[in-house]
Protein backbone atom coordinates (compact mmCIF):
# COMPACT_ATOMS: atom_id res chain seq x y z
CA UNK A 1 0.00 0.00 0.00
CA UNK A 2 1.40 3.40 -1.01
CA UNK A 3 1.05 6.09 1.64
CA UNK A 4 0.13 9.63 0.67
CA UNK A 5 2.55 12.41 1.75
CA UNK A 6 0.08 13.42 4.50
CA UNK A 7 -0.16 9.82 5.75
CA UNK A 8 3.65 9.58 5.77
CA UNK A 9 3.87 12.81 7.77
CA UNK A 10 1.34 11.59 10.35
CA UNK A 11 3.06 8.20 10.58
CA UNK A 12 6.37 9.94 11.27
CA UNK A 13 4.72 12.11 13.95
CA UNK A 14 3.24 9.04 15.64
CA UNK A 15 6.60 7.26 15.57
CA UNK A 16 8.38 10.23 17.15
CA UNK A 17 5.67 10.55 19.82
CA UNK A 18 6.00 6.84 20.64
CA UNK A 19 9.79 7.12 20.80
CA UNK A 20 9.43 10.12 23.12
CA UNK A 21 7.08 8.21 25.41
CA UNK A 22 9.44 5.23 25.56
CA UNK A 23 12.42 7.45 26.42
CA UNK A 24 10.30 9.24 29.06
CA UNK A 25 9.32 5.88 30.57
CA UNK A 26 12.97 4.74 30.71
CA UNK A 27 13.93 8.00 32.46
CA UNK A 28 10.98 7.59 34.87
CA UNK A 29 12.05 4.05 35.86
CA UNK A 30 15.66 5.23 36.25
CA UNK A 31 14.63 8.14 38.51
CA UNK A 32 12.32 5.91 40.61
CA UNK A 33 15.22 3.48 41.08
CA UNK A 34 17.53 6.29 42.20
CA UNK A 35 14.98 7.71 44.65
CA UNK A 36 14.03 4.33 46.12
CA UNK A 37 17.63 3.17 46.32
CA UNK A 38 18.72 6.49 47.84
CA UNK A 39 15.97 6.33 50.46
CA UNK A 40 16.84 2.77 51.43
CA UNK A 41 20.56 3.55 51.70
CA UNK A 42 19.78 6.57 53.91
CA UNK A 43 17.71 4.38 56.24
CA UNK A 44 20.30 1.56 56.41
CA UNK A 45 21.63 0.81 59.85
CA UNK A 46 25.30 1.84 60.09
Amino acid sequence: MELTPEEKRKLSQRNWALAGMLVAFVILVFVVTLVKLGGNIAQRAM
Partner: protein, 311 residues
Protein backbone atom coordinates in the same frame (compact mmCIF):
# COMPACT_ATOMS: atom_id res chain seq x y z
CA UNK B 1 -23.16 -2.50 20.17
CA UNK B 2 -21.28 -0.26 17.79
CA UNK B 3 -23.12 -1.69 14.80
CA UNK B 4 -23.71 1.81 13.45
CA UNK B 5 -20.04 2.59 13.41
CA UNK B 6 -19.05 -0.68 11.74
CA UNK B 7 -21.87 -0.44 9.23
CA UNK B 8 -20.99 3.13 8.32
CA UNK B 9 -17.51 2.00 7.38
CA UNK B 10 -15.79 4.08 10.01
CA UNK B 11 -13.93 1.03 11.32
CA UNK B 12 -10.28 1.60 10.54
CA UNK B 13 -11.01 4.32 8.02
CA UNK B 14 -8.33 7.03 7.65
CA UNK B 15 -6.60 5.54 10.70
CA UNK B 16 -3.22 6.49 9.30
CA UNK B 17 -4.18 10.18 9.38
CA UNK B 18 -4.24 10.28 13.18
CA UNK B 19 -1.56 12.44 14.75
CA UNK B 20 -0.28 12.48 18.35
CA UNK B 21 -2.82 15.21 19.20
CA UNK B 22 -5.67 12.85 18.21
CA UNK B 23 -4.33 10.22 20.62
CA UNK B 24 -4.07 12.93 23.28
CA UNK B 25 -7.73 13.84 22.64
CA UNK B 26 -8.58 10.17 23.24
CA UNK B 27 -7.41 10.67 26.84
CA UNK B 28 -10.07 13.36 27.53
CA UNK B 29 -7.50 15.86 28.89
CA UNK B 30 -10.12 18.20 30.41
CA UNK B 31 -11.58 15.43 32.57
CA UNK B 32 -8.02 14.36 33.38
CA UNK B 33 -7.16 17.83 34.74
CA UNK B 34 -9.93 17.70 37.39
CA UNK B 35 -8.97 14.16 38.37
CA UNK B 36 -5.28 15.08 38.73
CA UNK B 37 -6.12 18.22 40.68
CA UNK B 38 -8.31 16.45 43.26
CA UNK B 39 -5.65 13.78 43.66
CA UNK B 40 -2.90 16.40 44.10
CA UNK B 41 -4.93 18.32 46.69
CA UNK B 42 -5.51 15.13 48.70
CA UNK B 43 -1.81 14.30 48.43
CA UNK B 44 -0.90 17.72 49.88
CA UNK B 45 -3.50 17.46 52.66
CA UNK B 46 -2.70 13.89 53.72
CA UNK B 47 -0.64 13.35 56.87
CA UNK B 48 2.95 12.36 56.24
CA UNK B 49 5.31 13.22 53.46
CA UNK B 50 6.17 11.88 50.03
CA UNK B 51 9.36 12.40 48.03
CA UNK B 52 8.52 15.05 45.39
CA UNK B 53 9.65 12.75 42.55
CA UNK B 54 7.42 9.93 43.81
CA UNK B 55 4.54 12.43 44.18
CA UNK B 56 4.98 13.52 40.55
CA UNK B 57 5.07 9.89 39.42
CA UNK B 58 1.89 9.16 41.39
CA UNK B 59 0.16 12.09 39.66
CA UNK B 60 1.39 10.95 36.23
CA UNK B 61 -0.01 7.47 36.96
CA UNK B 62 -3.37 8.95 38.02
CA UNK B 63 -3.42 11.13 34.88
CA UNK B 64 -2.50 8.25 32.55
CA UNK B 65 -4.94 5.90 34.31
CA UNK B 66 -7.75 8.46 33.90
CA UNK B 67 -6.74 8.95 30.26
CA UNK B 68 -6.76 5.19 29.69
CA UNK B 69 -10.30 5.03 31.11
CA UNK B 70 -11.31 7.79 28.67
CA UNK B 71 -9.76 5.94 25.72
CA UNK B 72 -11.48 2.67 26.68
CA UNK B 73 -14.77 4.55 27.11
CA UNK B 74 -14.40 5.94 23.58
CA UNK B 75 -13.60 2.47 22.25
CA UNK B 76 -16.79 1.02 23.72
CA UNK B 77 -19.06 4.02 23.15
CA UNK B 78 -18.03 4.81 19.57
CA UNK B 79 -21.59 4.18 18.35
CA UNK B 80 -23.12 6.56 20.92
CA UNK B 81 -20.41 9.18 20.35
CA UNK B 82 -21.10 9.12 16.59
CA UNK B 83 -24.75 10.07 17.21
CA UNK B 84 -24.28 12.81 19.81
CA UNK B 85 -23.43 16.32 18.59
CA UNK B 86 -21.16 16.97 21.58
CA UNK B 87 -19.02 13.87 20.93
CA UNK B 88 -19.15 13.11 17.23
CA UNK B 89 -15.92 14.97 16.47
CA UNK B 90 -13.97 12.70 18.87
CA UNK B 91 -11.16 10.79 17.12
CA UNK B 92 -12.96 7.41 16.91
CA UNK B 93 -16.35 8.54 15.55
CA UNK B 94 -14.53 11.03 13.30
CA UNK B 95 -12.73 8.04 11.76
CA UNK B 96 -9.22 9.20 12.67
CA UNK B 97 -8.50 6.36 15.09
CA UNK B 98 -9.94 2.86 14.69
CA UNK B 99 -11.82 1.25 17.58
CA UNK B 100 -9.19 -1.46 17.70
CA UNK B 101 -6.41 1.13 18.08
CA UNK B 102 -8.37 2.92 20.85
CA UNK B 103 -8.81 -0.38 22.70
CA UNK B 104 -5.11 -1.27 22.41
CA UNK B 105 -3.98 2.25 23.35
CA UNK B 106 -6.30 2.42 26.37
CA UNK B 107 -5.47 -1.09 27.62
CA UNK B 108 -1.71 -0.50 27.33
CA UNK B 109 -1.89 2.79 29.20
CA UNK B 110 -4.12 1.28 31.90
CA UNK B 111 -1.69 -1.59 32.45
CA UNK B 112 1.38 0.66 32.50
CA UNK B 113 -0.20 3.23 34.84
CA UNK B 114 -1.16 0.58 37.41
CA UNK B 115 2.17 -1.28 37.21
CA UNK B 116 4.18 1.95 37.44
CA UNK B 117 2.11 3.04 40.45
CA UNK B 118 2.71 -0.35 42.11
CA UNK B 119 6.46 -0.31 41.51
CA UNK B 120 7.13 3.39 42.00
CA UNK B 121 4.61 4.49 44.63
CA UNK B 122 2.93 1.57 46.39
CA UNK B 123 0.57 -1.36 46.09
CA UNK B 124 -2.36 0.33 47.89
CA UNK B 125 -2.63 3.33 45.50
CA UNK B 126 -2.03 0.92 42.59
CA UNK B 127 -4.93 -1.27 43.67
CA UNK B 128 -7.14 1.80 44.08
CA UNK B 129 -6.12 3.04 40.61
CA UNK B 130 -6.90 -0.37 39.09
CA UNK B 131 -10.28 -0.37 40.88
CA UNK B 132 -11.01 3.14 39.53
CA UNK B 133 -10.20 2.20 35.93
CA UNK B 134 -12.08 -1.12 36.23
CA UNK B 135 -15.14 0.54 37.76
CA UNK B 136 -15.24 3.25 35.09
CA UNK B 137 -14.81 0.86 32.16
CA UNK B 138 -16.65 -2.30 33.24
CA UNK B 139 -19.27 -1.01 35.67
CA UNK B 140 -20.07 2.47 34.31
CA UNK B 141 -19.29 2.31 30.57
CA UNK B 142 -20.19 -1.30 29.75
CA UNK B 143 -22.99 -1.89 32.23
CA UNK B 144 -24.70 1.13 33.81
CA UNK B 145 -24.51 3.81 31.11
CA UNK B 146 -26.94 2.19 28.66
CA UNK B 147 -28.99 0.36 31.27
CA UNK B 148 -30.12 2.58 34.12
CA UNK B 149 -31.10 6.15 34.82
CA UNK B 150 -28.81 5.94 37.89
CA UNK B 151 -25.79 5.46 35.56
CA UNK B 152 -23.87 8.58 36.55
CA UNK B 153 -24.91 8.35 40.20
CA UNK B 154 -23.27 4.94 40.73
CA UNK B 155 -20.63 5.54 38.03
CA UNK B 156 -19.64 8.70 39.89
CA UNK B 157 -17.71 6.49 42.31
CA UNK B 158 -14.95 6.16 39.68
CA UNK B 159 -14.53 9.94 39.45
CA UNK B 160 -14.61 10.23 43.25
CA UNK B 161 -11.74 7.82 43.93
CA UNK B 162 -8.72 9.93 42.78
CA UNK B 163 -8.43 11.86 46.10
CA UNK B 164 -8.41 8.51 47.93
CA UNK B 165 -5.61 7.37 45.57
CA UNK B 166 -3.65 10.57 46.27
CA UNK B 167 -4.17 10.17 50.02
CA UNK B 168 -3.13 6.51 49.92
CA UNK B 169 0.00 7.41 47.90
CA UNK B 170 1.18 9.41 50.95
CA UNK B 171 -0.14 7.31 53.84
CA UNK B 172 -0.35 3.81 52.35
CA UNK B 173 -3.79 3.65 53.99
CA UNK B 174 -6.89 3.08 51.87
CA UNK B 175 -9.39 3.51 54.69
CA UNK B 176 -8.73 6.95 56.18
CA UNK B 177 -12.13 8.61 56.90
CA UNK B 178 -10.82 12.06 55.89
CA UNK B 179 -9.96 10.71 52.41
CA UNK B 180 -13.35 9.05 52.10
CA UNK B 181 -15.05 12.32 53.11
CA UNK B 182 -13.52 13.79 49.93
CA UNK B 183 -14.78 10.75 48.01
CA UNK B 184 -18.30 11.37 49.34
CA UNK B 185 -18.12 15.05 48.36
CA UNK B 186 -17.29 14.24 44.70
CA UNK B 187 -19.74 11.31 44.67
CA UNK B 188 -22.64 13.60 45.68
CA UNK B 189 -21.38 16.43 43.45
CA UNK B 190 -21.51 14.22 40.34
CA UNK B 191 -25.33 14.00 39.86
CA UNK B 192 -26.04 17.77 39.87
CA UNK B 193 -22.91 18.33 37.75
CA UNK B 194 -23.83 15.80 35.05
CA UNK B 195 -27.58 16.28 35.11
CA UNK B 196 -27.13 20.03 34.58
CA UNK B 197 -25.16 19.18 31.41
CA UNK B 198 -27.70 16.51 30.45
CA UNK B 199 -30.56 19.01 30.85
CA UNK B 200 -28.83 21.34 28.40
CA UNK B 201 -28.27 18.55 25.89
CA UNK B 202 -31.03 16.03 26.59
CA UNK B 203 -31.96 15.77 22.88
CA UNK B 204 -28.46 14.46 22.25
CA UNK B 205 -28.82 11.70 24.87
CA UNK B 206 -32.35 10.85 23.67
CA UNK B 207 -31.10 10.35 20.08
CA UNK B 208 -28.32 8.09 21.35
CA UNK B 209 -30.84 6.21 23.57
CA UNK B 210 -28.75 6.83 26.70
CA UNK B 211 -31.13 6.75 29.71
CA UNK B 212 -30.00 10.01 31.30
CA UNK B 213 -32.35 11.37 33.94
CA UNK B 214 -33.88 14.22 31.85
CA UNK B 215 -34.50 11.83 28.93
CA UNK B 216 -36.37 9.29 31.06
CA UNK B 217 -38.09 11.46 33.70
CA UNK B 218 -38.18 14.91 32.09
CA UNK B 219 -36.97 18.33 33.09
CA UNK B 220 -39.06 18.95 36.24
CA UNK B 221 -38.06 15.67 37.92
CA UNK B 222 -34.41 16.26 36.98
CA UNK B 223 -34.43 19.74 38.48
CA UNK B 224 -35.97 18.31 41.67
CA UNK B 225 -33.16 15.74 41.81
CA UNK B 226 -30.51 18.42 41.21
CA UNK B 227 -31.93 20.49 44.06
CA UNK B 228 -32.09 17.48 46.39
CA UNK B 229 -28.55 16.34 45.61
CA UNK B 230 -27.26 19.91 46.00
CA UNK B 231 -28.63 20.08 49.55
CA UNK B 232 -27.23 16.66 50.48
CA UNK B 233 -23.90 17.55 48.82
CA UNK B 234 -23.74 20.75 50.89
CA UNK B 235 -24.05 18.63 54.04
CA UNK B 236 -21.27 16.36 52.77
CA UNK B 237 -19.11 19.39 51.92
CA UNK B 238 -19.42 20.92 55.39
CA UNK B 239 -19.20 17.62 57.32
CA UNK B 240 -15.39 17.18 56.93
CA UNK B 241 -14.90 20.53 58.67
CA UNK B 242 -17.56 19.79 61.34
CA UNK B 243 -15.94 16.41 62.02
CA UNK B 244 -12.52 18.02 62.35
CA UNK B 245 -10.96 16.38 59.27
CA UNK B 246 -10.25 19.78 57.73
CA UNK B 247 -9.93 23.24 59.27
CA UNK B 248 -11.47 26.72 59.04
CA UNK B 249 -10.12 27.58 55.56
CA UNK B 250 -11.84 24.55 54.11
CA UNK B 251 -14.96 25.15 56.24
CA UNK B 252 -15.30 28.73 54.99
CA UNK B 253 -14.77 27.71 51.36
CA UNK B 254 -17.28 24.86 51.70
CA UNK B 255 -19.93 27.15 53.21
CA UNK B 256 -19.48 30.03 50.75
CA UNK B 257 -19.18 27.98 47.56
CA UNK B 258 -22.00 25.60 48.59
CA UNK B 259 -24.24 28.63 49.10
CA UNK B 260 -23.44 29.69 45.51
CA UNK B 261 -24.24 26.16 44.33
CA UNK B 262 -27.62 26.23 46.14
CA UNK B 263 -28.46 29.66 44.65
CA UNK B 264 -27.73 28.45 41.08
CA UNK B 265 -29.54 25.13 41.62
CA UNK B 266 -32.55 27.10 42.94
CA UNK B 267 -32.38 29.43 39.93
CA UNK B 268 -32.51 26.37 37.68
CA UNK B 269 -35.33 24.89 39.75
CA UNK B 270 -37.45 28.04 39.28
CA UNK B 271 -36.28 28.61 35.71
CA UNK B 272 -38.96 28.89 32.99
CA UNK B 273 -38.49 26.81 29.84
CA UNK B 274 -37.03 29.75 27.94
CA UNK B 275 -34.03 30.15 30.27
CA UNK B 276 -33.66 26.56 31.46
CA UNK B 277 -30.78 25.69 29.14
CA UNK B 278 -28.87 28.85 30.08
CA UNK B 279 -29.37 28.21 33.81
CA UNK B 280 -28.39 24.54 33.43
CA UNK B 281 -25.14 25.46 31.65
CA UNK B 282 -24.45 28.12 34.29
CA UNK B 283 -24.81 25.53 37.06
CA UNK B 284 -22.63 23.06 35.12
CA UNK B 285 -19.84 25.65 34.75
CA UNK B 286 -20.14 26.66 38.41
CA UNK B 287 -19.98 23.02 39.56
CA UNK B 288 -16.50 22.71 38.01
CA UNK B 289 -15.37 25.91 39.73
CA UNK B 290 -16.90 24.58 42.97
CA UNK B 291 -14.83 21.41 43.01
CA UNK B 292 -11.64 23.30 42.11
CA UNK B 293 -12.34 25.82 44.90
CA UNK B 294 -12.98 23.24 47.62
CA UNK B 295 -9.95 21.14 46.75
CA UNK B 296 -7.81 24.29 46.51
CA UNK B 297 -8.96 25.03 50.08
CA UNK B 298 -8.08 21.48 51.18
CA UNK B 299 -4.53 21.91 49.83
CA UNK B 300 -4.05 25.58 50.76
CA UNK B 301 -5.04 24.98 54.37
CA UNK B 302 -2.26 22.45 54.73
CA UNK B 303 0.25 24.67 52.94
CA UNK B 304 -0.42 27.65 55.26
CA UNK B 305 -0.29 25.42 58.34
CA UNK B 306 -3.96 25.68 59.36
CA UNK B 307 -4.81 22.03 58.81
CA UNK B 308 -5.91 20.06 61.88
CA UNK B 309 -4.27 16.96 60.38
CA UNK B 310 -1.08 15.98 62.19
CA UNK B 311 1.97 15.93 59.92
Amino acid sequence: MNAAVTASGLEGARASLAGPSDYLALLKPRVMSLVVFTSLAAMIAAPGSLHPVIAIIALICVAVGAGASGALNQWYDADIDAIMTRTRTRPVPAGLISRQAALEFGSTLALFSVLTMAIGVGYVPALLLAATIGFYVFVYTMWLKRWTVQNIVIGGAAGALPPVIGWAAVTGNAFDPAAWSLFLLIFLWTPPHFWALALAGSDDYARAKVPMYPVVHGSRATRNQIMGYTIVMTGAAIAPWALGYFGPVYGMAAAIFSLGFIVLAAALWFSPAATERRDALRLFAYSILYLFALFTAVAAERLVGLSPIAV
